[in-house]
């Protein structure tokens, strides 16, 4: 049942020009950024060769690409998640799900899985660029795996927040703007406080994301993302249930 809902969601993503546009624009910007990173690498290559313990191509090209990707996706994820529930409310198709023998949890998980599958295709496309370097050089595959894991967790977290905010309103634009606001806030919330024991640092998506880009996969960081996702999924289910009560 979850699978049927997820596959329909994925299909409708690929049927809409929005998703294709988002994929294309993101890919274009990332390609440009990737290209400039490589260019930069070539200009300093001779100096790197003489320096002891110099960073390799993985650190200088691949990881910055993932960093740029996370920023772009912070901006485009709200556009992809905004329609998830709000649009079904708006055009009444939610009635089909609610009158079918499926539970609210199945509906929410189905929707979430749908967007997650789409995000995975995103990550695959993004990762193909750095992996293309394998044709000419050696890469630190462990670090790249950590980067992919980081991006996957980050996008899964973005999507769960987007799904929740989409369940709050009938208007996709409002869902998109509030999702963007929330994600941006959680992104920058740690910026002005240097203190590592600060609660805002713990809340920030950024503080849990950047260590993984340096190849440091910390249980605490992974747990942060999993709790983040679970919280928003539960909130979404609760919200859908209470909408039935309020009408």
């Amino acid at each position: 049942m979850i699978k049927a809902i997820a596959l329909r969601e994925l299909r409708s993503m690929f049927l809409s020009p929005l998703a294709w546009t988002v994929l294309a624009v993101t890919q274009l910007i990332l390609a440009w950024s990737f290209f400039t990173q490589i260019d930069f690498f070539f200009t300093i290559q001779s100096e790197l060769a003489t320096a002891p313990n110099a960073p390799g191509v993985t650190d200088l090209v691949v990881m910055p690409t993932y960093e740029v990707a996370s920023l772009i996706l912070l901006m485009v994820t709200p556009l992809l998640t905004m329609r998830l529930i709000s649009e079904e409310r708006r055009n009444g198709s939610i009635a089909l799900l609610l009158s079918s023998p499926v539970s609210m949890t199945q509906i929410v998980l189905g929707k979430y899985l749908g967007i997650l599958l789409f995000m995975l295709s995103f990550i695959a496309m993004i990762s193909l660029m750095p992996l293309s370097l394998l044709m000419g050089t050696q890469l630190d595959l462990g670090k790249i795996a950590a980067g992919m894991l980081a991006l996957t967790l980050l996008l899964a977290a973005f999507s769960s927040a987007g799904l929740f905010l989409s369940s709050l309103t009938d208007n996709p634009i409002i869902a998109a703007i509030s999702t963007f606001g929330l994600l941006l806030l959680l992104w920058i919330i740690s910026r002005n406080t240097g203190d590592t024991s600060d609660v805002f640092n713990h809340l920030s998506l950024l503080t849990h994301y950047t260590p993984m880009l340096r190849g440091l996969v910390n249980t605490g960081d992974v747990a942060y993302f999993l709790i983040f996702i679970a919280t928003f999924l539960v909130l979404t289910i609760r919200q859908m249930d209470s909408r039935r009560l309020q009408g």
Binding site: S93, I94, A95, P101, G247
Partner: protein, 316 residues
């Protein structure tokens, strides 16, 4: 089928904030019933329908579908349910086959039976020619049919249709009514509408709701009885004078409506009146019961004074 009612609704109440949209409604639906659910706009029809289909939770009360409590075990109850809301719940970016296939999976139709269920539903709703068309490109009438197909796809015991003929042309309306009558033989159907002839055409029971309260419930036979007012419309080619008519014992009262047109109230059988007309060579052209239509009952009940005894209301 068992004698157990398909739908049993007990003391259903629904508030929107302080506003009471549905106030203490109870009714039952048996297999083979086609229940017409009538009411003016904002009377609580759609709210009731949404509660029956699980889209809204009731504030108070109980809904039992096919012996299963909708609130206690929603999944089991909903599997016996087909629902067409006011706006058909369609995905405009899918084609008819894809959409119905998705509905079939949602309704837990086993994979090997989906093909068959789809074909049957499409054939019943006249959708066979548009299988591959995008729903968004279909006309309103066809979209409505897809909505109906979705509701009957899994052959549910209970079918709830909220204004199913809105936006259809007269031919389509007739087809849909035939379909509903056909479905009514094996399913229980609740049909909400404010089109009165529709109820008279297809339903065998009627219920009128006004301001959240059930103000009238009857089967069609009872309705016909109620409609018999003892008044007849009479058109005669060689009409006698009104005084002559009033002198006849059978006729309690006659009123002239035009040169040849009378409204008579009789005390006795209408056959007698017909015989009189023929014997006296009045040139009988038309003799129709001046029935209190469903419309009159509807208007009387919903125009505020719900307690008036409708049998004594003036139908003219």
């Amino acid at each position: 089928m068992s004698s157990q009612p398909l739908i049993k609704v007990n003391n259903l109440v629904r508030y929107y904030g302080d506003h009471c949209a549905v106030d203490d409604i109870s009714f039952e639906l048996a297999a083979g019933d086609i229940l017409g659910f009538l009411g003016p706009n904002g009377a609580g029809k759609s709210t009731t329908m949404q509660m029956l289909s699980g889209n809204l939770a009731p504030s108070e009360g109980e809904i039992v579908i096919n012996g299963v409590d909708l609130l206690d075990s929603p999944k089991a109850a909903k599997s016996a349910l087909g629902y067409l809301p006011e706006t058909p719940p369609l995905y405009k970016d899918m084609c008819v086959d894809e959409y119905l296939g998705y509905c079939a999976r949602l309704r837990r139709i086993p994979a090997q039976q989906i093909r068959e269920a789809l074909d049957l539903a499409k054939q019943r709703c006249g959708l066979a020619d548009v299988s591959k068309r995008l729903i968004g490109n279909l006309s309103k009438g066809y979209q409505q049919r897809v909505g109906i197909a979705q509701a009957i796809l899994h052959s549910p015991a209970v079918i709830i249709l909220d204004e199913p003929t809105v936006g259809l042309d007269p031919i389509q309306i007739r087809e849909i009514r035939e379909l509903i009558a056909d479905l009514g033989q094996s399913h229980g159907i609740i049909l909400s509408t404010h089109i009165l002839p529709e109820v008279q055409a297809v339903c065998n029971r009627v219920q009128i709701i006004n301001q959240g309260k059930l103000v009238y419930a009857s089967d069609m036979a009872g309705l016909l009885e109620q409609q018999d007012t003892g008044r007849y419309e009479l058109v005669l080619k060689q009409a006698p004078s009104i005084a002559e008519l009033n002198n006849i014992a059978l006729i309690k009262q006659a009123q002239q409506r035009g040169d040849h047109h009378f409204i008579v109230e009789i005390d006795g059988k209408v056959e007698e009146l017909a015989r009189l007309a023929v014997e006296n060579n009045w040139g009988l052209q038309k003799l129709v019961a001046d029935q209190k239509s469903l419309e009159n009952i509807f208007v009387t009940l919903t125009s505020g004074d719900a307690d008036t005894d409708i049998a004594h209301e003036d139908a003219a």
